[in-house]
């Protein structure tokens, strides 16, 4: 159900001189507003940040999706885009930034490293940011092309359109202690298991 203008059944913004009231579902209106003005918090760390900048620049033009307002302060941001690898040294930083963002908030994990640790299956790298903060959309690629990131953003918008403000559990703040794990230790270990070819690369000679 869309926005009905003046009860005429016509879509919003097309009729001049029509009565100045609309009927709609509250969920639709809220989600429509939220999905089309997502302010990203670009948590750009590595190579993916360069592709993120390319997405924001002229050729791919992120502004088409209501996202040109980069919010480098987490206080005014809606969606945290983790673009690039996340070493352990940076883990408390992303946790803090996520905690500082007000609800409603979403997270896009851009690229292989943010999603799984990527090629860096070693002592320095968090094996997927979902062990630190909850993630809504994973964008694969090393790095993802700007089109890939845009597709991820469109998926996030789709997800937002399906939300309901009556479902309070979606937007509940889970304020953890800064040092607490978000998941059970066994789950973190399991998520961080080596996979594919990397299991064979544990010997140095």
């Amino acid at each position: 159900m869309g926005l009905n203008v003046g009860g005429s059944g016509k879509k919003l913004g097309v009729v001049a001189g029509s009565p100045n009231w609309i009927t709609t579902r509250l969920d639709f209106l809220v989600n429509w507003a939220r999905a089309n003005s997502l302010w990203p918090m670009p948590f750009g760390t590595a190579c993916c940040a360069i592709e993120f900048m390319a997405t924001a620049a002229g050729r791919f033009d992120l502004a088409r999706f209501g996202m040109e307002r980069m919010s480098f302060s987490p206080r005014q941001a809606d969606v945290l885009i983790c673009a690039g690898r996340l070493p352990f040294k940076l883990a408390p930083v992303i946790r803090r930034i996520y905690d500082q963002m007000p609800q409603p908030k979403w997270v896009i994990s851009m690229g292989a490293c943010a999603s799984t640790g990527g090629v860096f299956d070693n002592y320095a790298m968090v094996q997927g940011i979902d062990t630190i903060v909850p993630v809504d959309v994973y964008v694969p690629g090393c790095p993802p092309r700007p089109e890939g990131l845009l597709y991820g953003i469109l998926l996030l918008q789709k997800k937002i359109r399906g939300e309901s403000i009556t479902d309070r559990s979606l937007r509940e703040e889970q304020l953890l202690d800064q040092t607490a794990l978000r998941l059970k230790p066994e789950t973190v270990d399991e998520l961080s298991e080596p996979f594919g070819n990397s299991v064979h690369q544990t010997r140095s000679a």
């Binding site: 670009p42 948590f43 750009g44 760390t45 590595a46 190579c47 940040a49 360069i50 592709e51 900048m53 390319a54 620049a57 002229g58 050729r59 980069m70 480098f72 690039g84 690898r85 070493p87 352990f88 040294k89 940076l90 883990a91 408390p92 930083v93 946790r95 803090r96 930034i97 090629v119 860096f120 299956d121 070693n122 002592y123 320095a124 790298m125 968090v126 094996q127 062990t131 630190i132 090393c142 790095p143 092309r145 800064q178 040092t179 607490a180 794990l181 230790p185 066994e186 973190v188 270990d189 998520l191 961080s192 080596p194 690369q201 544990t202 010997r203 140095s204 000679a205």
Partner: protein, 630 residues
């Protein structure tokens, strides 16, 4: 190449304190006594006729043989005589891993020695500020590049996450920051309360018991006594009391103007930077450790991701280091294609610098122009390698692929039209009053200081030192191309801008010449040790199939030896130092990171400037954190 005659001079001067000397892949290596290393290096730097005045790199090597001692490696270069020399010190494992610091000789050694300390646990006696640099201060798993340190660390992943989250920024607020705050007055109440809660402080205690001698000034003169220690009261009394403290401002690690996850702690007197302390390591990814677990050709995809602003040049640098190790001479066509790759990389690297620096100073439009030009290079790069950014272009002994149809025409078109965009940027920025006011006279370094800090690339040349690896240690036949090396005279932010701007023009010239001379022929050497046979041969010919199998399963195996190979990429001298023990995986893969070393001069450059200018100065360094932290 024979033995460097310096070895003979050293033996005459120092006698038994000079150990064995050998030549590996054309590089002369001389072992010296660990107790005399500072004296010997000072002699090498200051003696007429030797003048090894440029410290290229300090690193360490641990061999797989557990009996073999660790080695500390000093890579030297004489800017006047254009001669390299590698000095090594052996540290047996049954004795304390200690050696004298060379920071009193070269300021540039400061961060390099801290990195060796962090990664290998080697103590440098007399270092002014020996702390961990890449890992956090409370990191408890050990020293990652030691051979007994497992690739994935000692703890389980959940324990690692828990410890990392526990090392919250306040909890390991560096001791020197705390001492700065404490020297003047008490900490802010909320910070004190938080530190007590986290167990860093005891309730009711003062903290700054440790006087930090962080060297910012010249020749090892510590700044701290100016305010700290016994002189505190006097120093405070001399200054007019405006009722305010020196203020500590934390910038980063997540900040749009730090060009990545760099954290700067700035001590401010009003708006003037008294002291700037960079904290790095927030993007430490363990490249060098990973390299020890991979075949040589498998490392090439990793090199894309170190300096991701100029991936193709990194590919070339690494492949050439392996080729030096194996004594492979690449084909003529491959040489020219690699020159093209390097210069394209230099262009996109400088373009992103120009765009983001303009944003930092308040001009948004050049960012859109430079990104437009970057997209055009990306198109060519993608046609050639299949990737916009992670190119993995080279292989040991050749290239991953030849250039596709239409590439030459596309690049010619780029060379023809690119100067127009440059001219537009030139018109908007170069004589712009705001631009000049925000860049001229800022962060100036003299030639002597720049050399002393081991700077390289545009940072060094802006200070008037005409050192460019392409001219001074030529590779890929760069000596046969006609191009100029732009050199600045003031060494400030504006000169660095001018130098990079001119390099963009010169790179375009080199590209045109390379396209003109591009010869036909194979791109790969005809050597079954390193290059895979064609697929048809591998399927039909038994011998070719065996070579194919051996290479895929066992990898390229260079002989025992070591090689250091520098190239000039956009940031400066990018060196790859490889040590081989004859197996398919390197014992040590060291990247000599130009922007890491350039960044280490930031405290020196920022001192006395305004906070707003710190942003411009930091931008002028042209850092890329993937390479700074590796």
């Amino acid at each position: 190449m024979g033995m460097n005659p310096t070895v003979q001079a050293l033996r005459e001067r120092f006698g038994p304190r000079i150990g064995r000397a050998l030549v590996s892949c054309g590089d002369t290596i001389v072992y010296v006594d660990r107790e005399a290393v500072r004296e010997i290096l000072r002699w090498l730097k200051e003696t007429p006729g030797q003048q090894y005045n440029y410290l290229v790199d300090i690193t360490a090597v641990e061999y797989r043989d557990p009996e073999r001692p660790l080695e500390v490696v000093y890579e030297l270069f004489s800017l006047d005589r254009k001669v390299p020399l590698r000095v090594k010190v052996e540290l047996p494992k049954d004795q304390p891993l200690e050696v004298d610091s060379v920071v009193p000789i070269w300021q540039g050694a400061n961060w390099l020695e801290r990195e060796v300390y962090d990664m290998f646990g080697i103590t440098f006696r007399g270092h002014p500020d020996l702390r961990r640099i890449l890992m956090w201060e409370t990191y408890s798993e050990g020293h990652p590049l030691r051979k007994d340190f497992p690739l994935r660390g000692r703890f389980s992943r959940s324990e690692q996450v828990r410890q990392a989250l526990g090392a919250s920024p306040e909890a390991h607020y560096s001791k020197e920051e705390l001492s700065i705050a404490d020297l003047y007055h008490d900490l802010p109440a909320d910070m004190r309360e938080r530190l007590v809660r986290q167990g860093v402080l005891e309730a009711g205690s003062r903290i700054g018991s440790r006087t930090v001698e962080l060297t910012v000034g010249e020749s090892g003169a510590a700044l701290a006594p100016a305010w700290g220690g016994a002189g505190t009261a006097a120093a405070v009394a001399e200054e007019p009391d405006f009722g305010g403290d020196h203020m500590l401002v934390n910038i980063g690690p997540q900040h749009p103007a730090t060009h990545g996850v760099l954290r700067l702690v700035v001590e401010l007197d009003g708006e003037v930077v008294v002291r700037c302390i960079p904290h790095i390591g927030y993007l430490h990814s363990g490249f060098e450790k990973l390299g020890e677990y991979r075949h040589y050709n498998q490392i090439i995809p990793l090199t894309d991701r170190t300096d991701y602003l100029s991936p193709m040049a990194n590919n070339v640098g690494f492949a050439m280091a392996v080729e030096k190790l194996m004594g492979i001479e690449i084909t003529e066509r491959c040489k020219v294609l690699r020159v093209i790759a390097c210069e394209m990389s230099r262009i996109i690297s400088h373009l992103i610098w120009m765009g983001t620096t303009a944003i930092d100073i308040g001009a948004f439009t050049p960012f859109l122009w430079t990104f437009y030009e970057r997209e055009r290079i990306y198109n060519l790069q993608e046609a050639w390698t299949g990737a916009r950014l992670t190119t993995s272009l080279t292989r040991v002994g050749g290239m991953m692929a030849d250039i596709p149809d239409g590439f030459v025409e596309g690049l010619r078109e780029f060379c023809r039209t690119f100067p127009k965009t440059l001219a537009e940027v030139d018109r908007v920025l170069t004589r712009n009053g705001i631009w000049c006011a925000r860049t001229q006279g800022l962060g100036a370094l003299t030639a002597e200081e720049a050399i002393n800090h081991s700077l390289s690339g545009p940072m060094l040349r802006a200070s008037g030192v005409p050192y460019d690896v392409r001219k001074d240690r030529p590779y890929l036949d760069y000596e046969t191309y006609d191009f100029e090396i732009p050199v600045g005279e003031h060494g400030d932010v504006y000169d660095r801008y001018l130098v990079r701007f001119e390099e963009l023009r010169q790179s375009t010239r080199i590209l045109e010449q390379a396209l003109d001379r591009l010869p036909d022929g194979p791109i790969n050497v005809d050597d079954p040790r390193v290059i895979l046979p064609p697929k048809s041969a591998a399927m039909n010919d038994m011998e070719a199939m065996i070579f194919h199998f051996k290479q895929v399963m066992e990898g390229v195996k260079p002989p025992v030896g070591e090689a250091y190979f520098p190239i000039e990429n956009g940031k400066g001298e990018l060196g790859n130092y490889l040590v081989s023990d004859g197996t398919a995986k390197p014992v040590r893969w060291r990247i000599r990171p130009p922007s890491f070393i350039n960044l280490s001069a930031l405290p020196k450059m920022a001192q006395g400037h305004l906070l707003a200018d710190l942003i411009a100065i930091n931008a002028s360094v042209d850092i890329v954190m993937g390479e700074v932290d590796r």
